[in-house]
Symmetry: C2
Subunit: 205 residues, 2 copies
DNA sequence: TTTTGAAGTTTACAATATAAACATCTTCAC
DNA sequence: GTGAAGATGTTTATATTGTAAACTTCAAAA
């Protein structure tokens, strides 16, 4: 009774399946993800997952949702640790985003692999994946009021920032920028440059 | 002998398969792409494609390569039509990129679906997909020399621009910005804003 | 004309997603 | 307690798909 979710046949298979899927994505990539591998890793028969997810897409969707929760947690943690300066908070959560995206490239790819969301993404997931976007808009509005950021529609500013960050990590994770790093810069340097450009664009004091 | 590629059993099945795959991607999306559908649409047996492509991934890779060729052609066409002003040329080819990306979202997605390139992308394809990137760097260098663009490493500037553009079209194509359009702006307005922000960032006169 | 190799077909097989029927354990009404 | 009832798993079965292998056909070179 102290147990939150009483152990049943498996315990909490749904969660275990999501974890297993996560591991497989990280180890073999999204291509290698099969229902059967996930089931096997969780120690159940290959049809067991269907008691928790209507089909494979829905399992992946659950993984994506979990991913956005994790990302959100990371960003919040960083923001809290950044002290009270709004710009510092903003920068810290942005760095956390980049850290997450570049530490788990395959995972990030699945989270933003549009094919799924476009078709089966439900409203709940859409909301989750937009949470940090909404917060960024609020941040920008506040920063403007404090005179820290150039005036303008914060929604448009946020779109521009999100586009740049998402584009950068996507390209970097897909190894499309390698021909640059290797020759002149490290990934970290390029990353810093892009961040700097964003802040310049915002006219941060 | 006037015929470049003499008609054989099929004529030019390789090309026909790429075209068929293109259509399927456009109509049903990348998920719906199966070797057998492609073969059927091209009017051949389901194993025929294996005489031209080692496996499914290589077929897709050929489709991607064709996509980058088409994109490159579009950008060149726009650039040529833009007259002699370097900034106008630059802007025109950028617009062409956005037009392409947003007219064929599924196709664009496949072209930039990193899973493939990361694993099986060969050098030839990598080169193709970087052609326009290299040209952008040249453009920026020239524009700097003409005093039209803020000084700085053009490679880094290009990365920043490409990140923003790619991120924007990716998010837009994946319907991640819908909650913004609907309420206040049209897609075109947001698109223009992002472009403007890029040019501001470059300090274009 | 014969032969040969590329291009295509047929057949076969293994992996996978998923449905359906069956089994088992928890819980809840009594 | 007890005995449904329903949730959770398993087994079995099927259709789709990627791909290998053996076989066929035809253009072109010898």
């Amino acid at each position: 009774m102290a147990v939150v979710k009483a152990a049943y046949h498996h315990g909490d298979l749904r969660t275990a399946l999501i974890e297993a899927a996560l591991e497989i994505i990280d180890e073999i990539g999204p291509q290698g993800l099969t229902i059967r591998k996930v089931a096997h890793r969780a120690g159940v028969s290959h049809a067991a997952p269907y008691r928790h997810f209507p089909d494979k897409d829905d399992l992946i969707l659950a993984v994506v949702e979990r991913g956005f929760e994790l990302l959100d947690e990371e960003m919040e943690r960083a923001r809290t640790a950044a002290g009270s300066d709004p710009i510092a908070q903003f920068a810290a959560s942005g760095e956390a985003y980049l850290d997450f995206a570049m530490s788990y490239p395959a995972y990030y790819r699945v989270m933003f692999s549009g094919d799924l969301l476009a078709s089966k993404g439900n409203e709940a997931l859409r909301h989750t994946s937009e949470a940090s976007f909404v917060r960024m808009i609020d941040d920008l509005r506040m920063a403007q009021d404090l005179g820290l950021v150039r005036r303008g529609d914060p929604t448009l500013q946020a779109i521009s920032i999100v586009s740049t960050v998402h584009g950068f990590v996507s390209l970097a994770n897909d190894n499309r920028l390698n021909h640059v790093y290797g020759e002149q810069y490290t990934e970290q340097q390029v990353r810093d440059f892009v961040i700097t450009a964003i802040f310049e664009g915002l006219g941060v004091n």
